[in-house]
Structure formats: C-alpha cells, structure tokens
C-alpha cells in the first residue's frame, strides 16, 4: 500500500522535475509508437477498406486470419523481428537491431493487424450503407476504397487510437529488438520492466503512472481533435 502512495508522489515529482533522462525516454516512446501507428495506419486502413469493399475468393478466410493476428503476442513479434534483423539473419546487413527503427518495425507489425481489422469492421458497415449509391454513381469496389476511408475518417481515428494504445503499452517486442539500451532504445515500458526487476516497485509504478498520463494526453488530444473536426465538418 505504501508503494502506491509513494508511486503517486514520485510520479508527480518526476513529471514536475522534467528529469532529462525521463524526458528522453518519453520522447522516444512517443516517437517510436506514433511512427509505428502512422505506418500501420497507412498500411492497415487501405487494407481494411479493401477487405470491406472488394469481394474476392478467400476474403472470409483473410478476414478471420486478420482478426486472429490481432492477438499476436508482442514477444513473438519481437522474436520474429529479432531473427530478421539479427546479424546472422536475412536483414542483418542493415544493422538495425537495437535501434529505434527496429522497435518501430516490430510495433508496426504488431499494430497493423489491429488497425486493419478494426478499420475493416467499421468500413464494412459503411460499405453496406453506400454500396448501391456508389455503384449507381459508377464507382466500383476498388474506386470506393478512398471514398470509404474518407467517409469513415472519424471512426478510423478510433482504430488508430486502439493501435496506439497497443503500441505504447507493449514491452515484449521492444525489449527484444531494442535491447532496452540506456539513452538509445529505452522506452517507458522497458524502463518500467527494468525498475521492477531492480525491486524499485514505487519507481516502476510511478513510471507506469507517467505512461498512463501520456496515453491519456494522446487519446484525449485525439478525441478533442476528432470532436472538433466532426463538429466543423460533416459527421
């Protein structure tokens, strides 16, 4: 119990002090996860729209597979990327292991299925509503993809946020491919794991609270942005 109280005090202290090491860790966490989510959106949203709009043989199986990928354990993704990027691996020559780029790659792999699956679900609903009207206007399933993406933009923001939540909170993948190297690849979650392993429970918890505040800030900002945009635009 006293750990909990201490953690809250410590969390406030950490945030107030703006300790440069913590600031660096926070910045890297945000940079890695936001980049991964951005790439995941660029890949996953069109993929989701495609699965929602374009009928093809095996689409049902593809959707089931995609939904299953949402449950991919981060550690497995981490190991996969490690094998890929290891010096002994097929992409070893790129020298990306233990860099933020490797962490971005791992989180992108982790998050893309989530963004794609949630996008598909949302856009399938839209597609049902729009399909006849769009075909009436001479817009086939392929050309409908950008329209669906734009029409679903407010809902898609939620898919992006879900992806961000997963990325910023995962530790297994970034630990393996980033290595939790001080000043280089240490992010919030790996720092929390490290302090826990040192038995610094209060500090670990405090970092957890900082992470929570961070997530709240990002999702809150996104929600605000989304609502303002929806009000100004045409929900």
């Amino acid at each position: 119990m006293e750990d909990l109280g201490a953690a809250f005090g410590l969390a406030l202290e950490l945030m107030a002090a703006g300790d440069p090491e913590l600031v660096g860790i926070v910045r890297l966490s945000l940079a890695v996860s936001l980049t991964a989510v951005a790439i995941a959106c660029l890949l996953g949203m069109p993929l989701g729209a495609l699965l929602a709009s374009v009928p093809f043989r095996g689409r049902g199986a593809a959707i089931v597979f995609l939904d299953a990928l949402m449950g991919l354990p981060p550690v497995v993704v981490g190991l996969f990327v490690y094998i890929l990027l290891s010096n002994a691996g097929p992409l070893g020559a790129l020298r990306l292991l233990y860099t933020p780029a490797a962490m971005i790659l791992a989180q992108t792999i982790l998050v893309t299925p989530i963004v794609a699956a949630l996008s598909r679900e949302l856009l399938a609903g839209l597609q049902e509503e729009y399909a006849d009207q769009l075909r009436s206007l001479g817009i086939g399933p392929w050309r409908a993809i950008p329209t669906l993406l734009w029409e679903g933009r407010f809902g898609l923001a939620t898919a992006a946020l879900a992806g961000f939540g997963r990325a910023i909170a995962e530790v297994g993948a970034v630990m393996i491919v980033g290595g939790n190297i001080k000043h280089a690849t240490r992010v919030m979650t790996t720092a929390i794991a490290l302090e826990t392993s040192k038995g610094e429970i209060a500090l670990a918890l405090a970092l957890g609270l900082v992470l929570l505040a961070l997530a709240l800030f990002v999702t809150g900002a996104a929600a605000l942005l989304r609502e303002t945009a929806a009000r100004l635009a045409h929900a």
């Binding site: 910045r27 980049t35 290891s86 010096n87 020298r95 429970i201």
Partner: protein, 290 residues
C-alpha cells in the same frame, strides 16, 4: 485520415536520429542484469567513454541469452558469468580474447524466519539439501542464466534434482534476477542471487541473507570479444579497446572502487593468460592484454 497522417509526418522526420549501432565509436555489449542493475556499468562506462570516446550500449539479459545473441553476431563484446559456457563459446570459434575480469559471490537469501533452518551455514549444497528436505519454497531463475547455471551445479553437488521430480516447492520463475527476487519476496521463498543484485535490490520485504562465504559460491565474470572472422561487421577495434581497458589498471581500479551502500561488490582479478582462454582454443589471434 490521410491528411492526419500527413500532419504526423514532421513528427516522424523529427525522430531522434538512430545512429548505426556499430559506428566507429559505438559498441554493443551483451551483458547480464547483475552488472547493470547493481549500477556497476553506470559506474564504469562513463569513465571508459571519457578516456576513449567510445560509447558502450548495454543489452542486459541472462548469460545464456547474451551468448546466444553474440553467437548471431548481435553485439561486439560480452561481459558475462558462466565460465564453462564462455570457454565453450570461445572454443567453438564464436569468441576471442577472453579474459577473467572480476568476481563477486552468490548468496542464499530466504524468509527471515527461515523455515528450513539454514541461517549461518557455510556449506551451500548442504543448505540446499536442507531446503529440499524441509520442502520449503525455492524460487529458481529458470532462465538459463549464469546464476541458474550456478544454482543447478549446487543442486548437483547436493545430490538432488529438483527440476526432474516436479517438486511443488521448487518454482522456476523463468525471469531475471530482480523479478525472481520479487517473486521470492512475495512467496516467502528461498533463492540464490548474486550479492550485487541482492544489495541493490530495493524490494526485500521479509527476505534476509542467510548463507554466504562458501568458496563454491564464487562467481567469475569474463569478457569476450565476438570473433570478427565469423562476424566481419563487428566493431572489433573498439570492442578490444573496451576489453583492454577493463582488464587494464584503470578499469580494474574502477571496479574495485565501486561501492553500493558502502559495500564493495565486485573484486577485480583480471587474467588473460592461457587458463582464461580455456584449454580447447585453437585458432586464436594473439591476445594483447595479458
């Protein structure tokens, strides 16, 4: 959505540049949690970097994982503690220029009320046997780390194979030292830990140091360089500079000067002689730091 992504682009471009990990002035050191969590590396590395300008990036994992990563060429140097396996690593041609660097010792910790009655014993295998006889909870690292290797050798000396019998008092954590200590504290169990991790560990709760001083609890650390003949991409020159500094007078003095809560945790005993290379090595470049 695409517009939103475009808006994110500047942020992506502003990402902290990720320098290649093996540039001229950076090496990756595969090491163990004990050296990092105790604070030893935070004490040593700035001194080394100040002297040479070489940045050392530490990946701290169990010794088994460290050796595995290095086998893949993911790292330039190793600082680990499982001597027999280090020698095998060198013998198989993955590593070169191994040196003994320093030692610390393991201790047995457990609940302060000590249900197995091992407090004050100086015979570690006998203490293990008593824990097994009492059926008291023992938390093992279970992660193939140097500490885990040492623990298994102690069970062997005690004539007990706790992992085979599915003994319900023997719990394999599959975790690092800190996590294992957290579990032992939560379960009121015994465990084997290196003294450095124990002293630096902040969440002791009801745990106490019960057994120490057995020579068999001695824990030798070695430094090894990843063989550039096998992995040409490694930063061999910088890694060698690190190894030479570590076993040289400046590094050794820095190790001796490191204190946690007033205690010296690591004892320098650099040796790059033939014994440190192991009996099997055949194709080794001439060591220079001996």
């Amino acid at each position: 959505m695409n517009r939103l992504l475009l808006a994110l682009l500047p942020l992506l471009l502003a990402m902290p540049a990720a320098p290649a990990r093996a540039g001229a002035d950076v090496i990756v050191l595969q090491s163990t949690t004990s050296t990092r969590n105790s604070g030893l590396l935070d004490h040593l590395l700035p001194k080394f970097t100040a002297r040479t300008g070489i940045e050392v990036r530490v990946v701290a994992v169990g010794t088994g994982q460290a050796l595995k990563n290095a086998r893949n060429g993911d790292g330039d140097a190793l600082l680990v503690h499982a001597r027999a396996r280090e020698l095998a690593f060198v013998a198989e041609g993955y590593g070169v220029l191994r040196c003994d660097v320093m030692y610390n010792d393991f201790v047995i910790v457990g609940p302060a009320d000590d249900p197995a009655g091992i407090a004050g014993m100086r015979d570690a295998p006998a203490a293990f046997a008593r824990i097994a006889a009492a059926g008291a909870i023992f938390v093992s690292r279970g992660d193939d780390s140097g500490t885990h290797v040492k623990e298994r050798s102690l069970w062997r000396l005690a004539g007990i194979d706790p992992a085979a019998g599915a003994a319900d008092w023997y719990r394999e954590a599959g975790a690092g030292m800190g996590a294992t200590l957290n579990i032992a504290a939560g379960m009121e169990g015994y465990t084997l830990t290196d003294r450095a991790s124990w002293i630096a560990f902040a969440n002791k709760r009801n745990l106490a140091l019960l057994v120490e001083g057995d020579p068999r609890l001695f824990n030798q650390y070695g430094v090894i360089l990843v063989n550039p003949a096998r992995h040409p991409a490694v930063n061999f020159a910088a890694a060698k500079a690190f190894r030479d500094w570590l076993v040289g007078p400046e590094g050794q003095a820095a190790i001796a000067a490191f204190r946690v809560k007033g205690q010296q945790l690591f004892f320098p005993n650099a040796d790059c002689g033939r014994a440190a290379q192991g009996p099997f090595q055949r194709t080794r470049p001439r060591p220079s730091g001996s």
